[in-house]
Symmetry: C2
Subunit: 242 residues, 2 copies
């Protein structure tokens, strides 16, 4: 199926025929960052540097190494894109990350904004066996607590048909599907407004002038969000189960 860059073997010397050494946590986080950024074409050095809070020169260095490992295609000054091998590795990590977040929230009583940081470390330490047994333990969830889809074992990812609340129109009955950023302050505000994934709401007003969105929750309370915040809340028509 893949014929891009050969195998993912990393060690310089010949190791076994099928040995796929799993990348270090650094490499893994780079792959995830590039994957997340590459919806709009190649990812730039600066984008990745900003996202990972690492200097541009370090990123530039790593780009060369990712190319040498067969995980990415990269040309000087031209940005980077993942190979099929790199994409699969990124999705493997994403699957772990989102399953772990689900476990932390549902089983260990983590709060909404604590889960991401812990998952960011654990995703690199758990084995494939652990991941699949955890998935089973959790009942094979399809979305993480933020509403993001959990990639399948084989790297499949459900297409996302949600849209930002900012683009809704008054009168629509919608279900919160996913929230964008995962920083604590944002999550705290959203939680206060009852805008966590799964919640159903009715749009009362979308004011074109300044983008203010007013919604009414199922409890009848109304909340108003500024445009930027309404851009980070993704919704779908309130029909299917969340």
């Amino acid at each position: 199926m893949i014929s891009v860059g050969g195998s993912v073997s990393i060690g310089a010397t010949m190791d076994g025929p099928q040995t796929v050494k799993s990348p270090s946590s650094s490499v893994g986080d780079y792959l995830k960052a590039i994957w997340e950024l590459s919806e709009e074409g190649a990812a730039s050095t600066k984008d990745v540097a900003d996202r990972l809070s690492i200097s541009s020169s370090s990123v530039s260095n790593m780009f060369v190494r990712l190319r040498e490992m067969g995980l990415a295609e990269y040309e000087r000054y031209r940005g980077i894109t993942l190979t099929e091998a790199g994409r699969l590795e990124a999705l493997r990590l994403l699957r772990r990350h989102r399953l772990i977040e689900t476990f932390l929230l549902e089983c260990l009583g983590y709060s909404w904004d604590e889960v991401h940081e812990e998952a960011e470390r654990l995703e690199h330490s758990v084995s494939d066996v652990y991941t699949e047994r955890l998935a089973e333990f959790l009942g094979h969830p399809e979305h993480d607590p933020h509403g993001d889809p959990i990639p399948g074992k084989d790297g499949t990812l459900k297409p996302d048909d949600s849209f930002p609340l900012a683009e809704a129109t008054a009168g629509q009955r919608l279900r919160v599907f996913r929230v964008g950023p995962e920083d604590a302050p944002t999550l705290a505000v959203l939680e206060g407004s009852g805008l966590l994934p799964g919640k159903v709401l009715t749009v009362r007003e979308v004011r074109a002038l300044d983008g203010l969105v007013t919604v009414e929750g199922e409890d009848g309370k109304t909340h108003t969000l500024g445009g930027p915040l309404a851009d980070t809340v993704f919704v779908r028509s309130a029909s299917g189960g969340g």
Copy 2:
């Protein structure tokens, strides 16, 4: 309470006043190995090297670094012992390790011999918060699946009053409390003989000549163990709950 080597801060430069940077996974594994070996005084370079499958020269190097970090006392050619700070760090890891093993076995359906390897990695990635929430989730267990006591949050460790099956005498009714090694083949044999922690057995014969021990399980089946194996199974009088 401690006045041995000062704080555990590791970075060379001044960081916060109370900053206790948690050791890398390498350092942590060294501390655990030294702790486990130091029941008989100072741990030697070779003992640690063998246990961690690392070259002696690397170990020698690390001993110097552990001393500089205030985690151990060490003199050239004289072996190494942990400071109070080092001991607490080792027990902190041991607590994590054993809680994680319990979780893997009880919740994720890991087999007896799979748990150790996974825990050996995860112990370095989980946070204090994770550890304590996991302990709560598991109902604050006091022993891991191998029967080893789980250290308390504060580094307390229950004294171990078990003894090797090899030192039992015929007629005794005993409860398996703990098994020593954690390699897959040994555990497989023990599992086949129904000698996992918690099982109750009656000693039928202990042959002084070659150390052969014959026991009868609660199901009436008898099993015979060679001396070396009987040395690795630790038992207690079968009275209290396991």
